[in-house]
Point group: C2
Chain length 617, copies 2
């Protein structure tokens, strides 16, 4: 299985050129001396979850944020790490492949070698399975040679993104102990990083000296929270998909006879679809978050699209492009309920052929209404995270089919008098995932790799590497680390008999923020996108010239830099402490007390009311 | 329908950058003085077709080749065109959209304006339908502004690629007369250029003064013959598709659990598939020409793929990528026969639902054996050129289905002991067609546009613009024009009662040359491609840096430049004439006669035997 991993291979001229690209490091990571400044201990996003999370993470909850600063930075409390004893680190691709993953390995390797030539980096072959089986390849310059700045996860490969069962965590523990690892770096998305956090706790409990570090690498862009602005791979995926979407738009406009229904990979939430819409301006996008917020049924969505087709036909436009996130099938209430029932029956061991007879009357009616190809796809076994096999369910074909049926009906009834509706369906998924990473993803991943080293050098366990202020040039990037427990929330389901079921604490995927600036940008333009064919082609990813430094729209429009603002707050608090030192005047103290009482009051009120309203829940 | 054509639009940063790119011109087209040198009158590729073609083209057959040379070129017979009276030219997108099409218009516009500011260029809106309806837009600098070096045909749009029926050619004649056009430039592939040739003849017969010029623009790359080395759009399409194929290869290698079946747009023949294979090195490609040559049935192909899957499983490889040209369905003998029967019945007016009962026993058996989705697709009405709706027939899914069935059978029988076979299917078509054109396609199309002007300035009718020596840099390109009649062949079908049916003379699509160097390159590597996963990622199309000048592999490996070699031959003949002028010695004359007699003899023999063996038939 693993015989071919890490072997040198023939590169195309562009691949060769890319393999010679040296990503920049922000000033704080240059040189061999780095300061670590610790912030206050972290809390969790939802106050109501705190006790559940505390119970699951007695050892790793409440750890402080860490900021990595230049050796010359003037921060009194920062700690300079000068000792760099030789360490052994393991790294594993746990999540699904995302462009840039290889550069995390390269960045970590570089940092290890710069600080102590005796440091060792072991790459586990074939993902988590390789970790359990202790199959590892020592990373060397030679091994990395043809993988620098290249796409895919084929340097090490991957299997399933799961390190969760007792058997699995024990195997991981044994591997880290047997291989005498000081650190284990886990690369992946929400699922992998949740597993990493639990593994860190498990290792701490077991007094295993291996520190676990997570890295946010996922094309879905859904590992987003106060500490994490972006995920490695998202930039590339959105650029590649946007190019293809724009090509389809141009095609639609050239021939003026087809509606293209394009489904996009990206799991449950619609980050990829939103970003691609803002880059390429298709006529319509159905965001899962909107469907959920408005509780739209499949018939509502069909009607929405049909009305759009009809409005466009009124302007003599018989073509268009509609984006559909793959996760939408789980956002549509009745389809989600149907899927849940099917998955429940599959778990009980009911054979797929017999499921239709065991469904509830409502679900059965819906199921029987659906065309055969979709029925078959809905009956597939769920994924390891209990979600449906989204990449295999052709929602774009279902919608095209329903829209066509409805348009034919409207034609017969005489309410639609336009040309015959013709749809062409596409799924943009696997063809983008293995792409050469964009410059942004190359840089971001490489820097994260470096940060992993500094997390381990500082002896931290259960942290995720973070870079903030990403919309600025690399030399303004801020590097840090955040405890993964601070990103956790807990899900609750009401059961039939009125009781509530509580999920395992996890880093849940972020939804598209319907109050955020990126969504606002979409809303401002959606009518123009729909009617005016403002198609825009970002073109193929460029590596040279001015086009090479373009960044994701959603990254650039949001005011992120939460970490920077947390630091700013600390500075204010420190200033108050300095200004109001013992010996200050009565008046100053009185003013300080009055103002601070009011500040505390306001914040307490907001905090308690925001418990349930967090976007990254 | 046409309200939006030619309107300015918002461009992305890369589109803006590209809109400022100025393609180079080869030296012969620089400045305002160009020499035209005429070669000998042309013949047709198959001697046996000559009399049929002659009957169809009394006015336009046998015209000489034209070469455009620098004003300073030392060619005694060349004619310098110094008079440039104002002319009116129409241009129409007749074929399917291909990246670069807009640059033909731009190039022609530039040439017109450089030679006489009063020249007028009219673009027909909505393709051939716009020509018939005389809906035209005057091309100006403003109109072109946001379409220079951009993909798609959306500046003017297109409808059907047909100017063929009596009604259609009469409408075209009326349009050209009414609009007082001196020239009509038709942009498209084999079908459009065949129509252009017939239209030129029809205009000549009707004593219409409009000269018709064809331009080879098609993503299929099948308008290839002695005079035409490449088609506008092919380079871009193959690069975009190769990138996506390589991404899928990287993905396959990262997860090691899927076989990807990728169908490629490209019509009947397999040029796109061959080029993409040579660029990206997938494990397998099924070329239509191989299927035809070896008379492979669908079961043979299934077995071939299954054997490959089994051999790879023996090396612990449970993933792979297989390319399937969309035209393959017409190359497989029994499927082609079935399609022919279905199309015949559809033509007779039989409803699709009743066709299965009217098929011959053989075809009926095959039809019933096929899975339902394919049945439905095979029943679609044929295209305007009588071929099946190739883009709608999911051959990749059919093959994946048959391979899966066979692998399951082998597993049950115990002959296959590998992991379960899993397939994922893709169709790469529409998402590449609207792409930003590569630098090559930008340059090539722009130069062809210029040549169109010179063809018209020289008063030529029924010619196609040609550029040869394309694999060299632009400053070595050779510009010319070839009579379209010289590219014609005639198809013959044996009828049931022993008689032969003869087709209309046409520029037929070239097949992949199984004796050519490009195919040889594939054959040399196919075993390695199959077993060793030598995946190679050409990456996204680049516009800056060293990667921007990469050209198609099939273009570079073949010794083309037929036009250059024809010119070389003329030079030899001229030299002989000079050396053996009256007054030369008896010995020289004797030697010349002896050698020339032998040359003539050899060539006569070869010519008569090659009548039926031409590759571009």
């Amino acid at each position: 299985m693993d015989s071919d991993f890490g072997i040198p291979r023939e590169l195309s001229p562009l691949q060769q050129l890319r393999s010679q690209y040296q990503p920049q490091l922000p000033p704080c990571l240059q040189g061999t001396t780095v300061r670590v400044e610790f912030g206050d201990g972290t809390t969790v996003a939802k106050a109501g979850d705190a006790h559940i999370i505390a119970r699951a993470f007695p050892h790793t909850l409440g750890q402080p944020l860490a900021h990595f600063l230049r050796a010359t930075a003037k921060v009194p409390d920062a700690q300079i790490i000068t000792e760099h004893p030789a360490i052994r680190v393991g790294i594993v691709f746990s999540g699904r492949q995302a462009p840039g993953g290889h550069n995390v390995i390269w960045g970590l390797y570089e940092a290890l070698k710069v600080h102590n030539a005796k440091n060792t980096l072991l790459g586990f072959l074939g993902g988590s399975e390789g970790l359990f089986a202790q199959k590892a390849l020592e990373i060397t310059d030679d091994v990395l040679q043809t993988y620098k700045n290249q796409g895919g996860f084929d340097l090490l490969g991957r299997t399933k993104d799961q390190i969760r069962t007792t058997e699995q965590v024990n195997a991981a523990l044994k591997a880290c102990t047997d291989l005498k690892l000081d650190g284990l770096v886990i690369i992946g998305g929400v699922t992998s990083n949740t597993d990493a956090a639990h593994l860190a706790e498990f290792f701490a409990e077991a007094k295993c000296s291996t520190k676990v570090v997570g890295v946010p690498v996922t094309i879905n862009g859904d590992l987003k929270n106060q500490f994490v602005e972006a995920n490695v791979g998202f930039d590339t995926i959105c650029k590649v998909n946007s190019q293809l979407i724009s090509n389809v738009c141009t095609d639609a406009l050239s021939a003026e006879k087809y509606y293209y229904f394009v489904r996009l990979m990206g799991r449950k939430h619609s980050h990829v679809a939103l970003e691609c819409t803002l880059q390429s301006h298709p006529n319509m996008v159905i965001l899962g978050e909107e469907v959920t917020a408005s509780k739209l049924t499949i018939f509502d969505i069909t009607k929405q699209i049909c009305d759009a087709v009809q409005a466009r036909a009124g302007q003599d436009k018989n073509h268009g492009v509609i984006l559909i996130p793959e996760g939408i099938v789980e956002s549509i209430p009745e389809l989600y309920a149907l899927l849940k029932e099917i998955h429940g029956l599959l778990k009980e061991g009911v054979h797929a052929d017999n499921i239709s007879t065991k469904l509830s009357p409502w679900s059965s009616a819906l199921f029987e209404f659906l065309p055969p190809f979709i029925k078959k796809q809905l009956l597939l076994h769920p994924e390891s995270d209990d979600s449906a096999q989204l990449s295999q369910i052709e929602t774009e074909k279902l919608l095209a089919y329903l829209v066509e049926t409805e348009m034919n009906k409207r034609t017969k009834e005489g309410t639609y008098k336009g040309k015959k509706f013709n749809a062409i369906c596409h799924f943009f998924g696997y063809q983008a995932r293995g792409s050469l990473p964009s410059k942004f993803d190359c840089d971001y991943a490489y820097v994260l790799g470096h940060i992993c080293y500094h997390i381990l050098a500082a002896g931290l366990n259960g942290y995720m590497a973070t870079v903030t202020n990403l919309k600025s040039p690399v030399n303004k990037w801020k590097c840090g680390a955040a405890p993964m427990t601070a990103m956790m929330t807990v899900k609750r389901w009401s059961q039939n008999c009125g009781s509530t079921s509580i999920g395992r604490p996890a880093i849940h995927p972020a939804t598209v923020d319907l109050k955020g600036k990126a969504y606002e940008l979409l809303r401002q333009n959606e009518q123009k996108f729909l009617m005016e064919d403002m198609y825009r082609n970002p073109g193929p990813v460029q590596y040279d010239g001015p086009g090479a430094d373009v960044k994701a729209v959603t990254l650039c429009v949001e005011d992120q830099d939460y970490m920077g603002r947390i630091k700013k707050l600390q500075e204010y608090l420190d200033q108050v402490r300095t200004l109001v030192k013992p010996g200050c005047s009565q008046d100053v103290l009185k003013a300080a007390l009055s103002v601070m009482a009011s500040v505390t009051d306001v914040l307490s009120t907001i905090s308690s009311s925001s418990t349930s309203g967090q976007q990254f829940a």
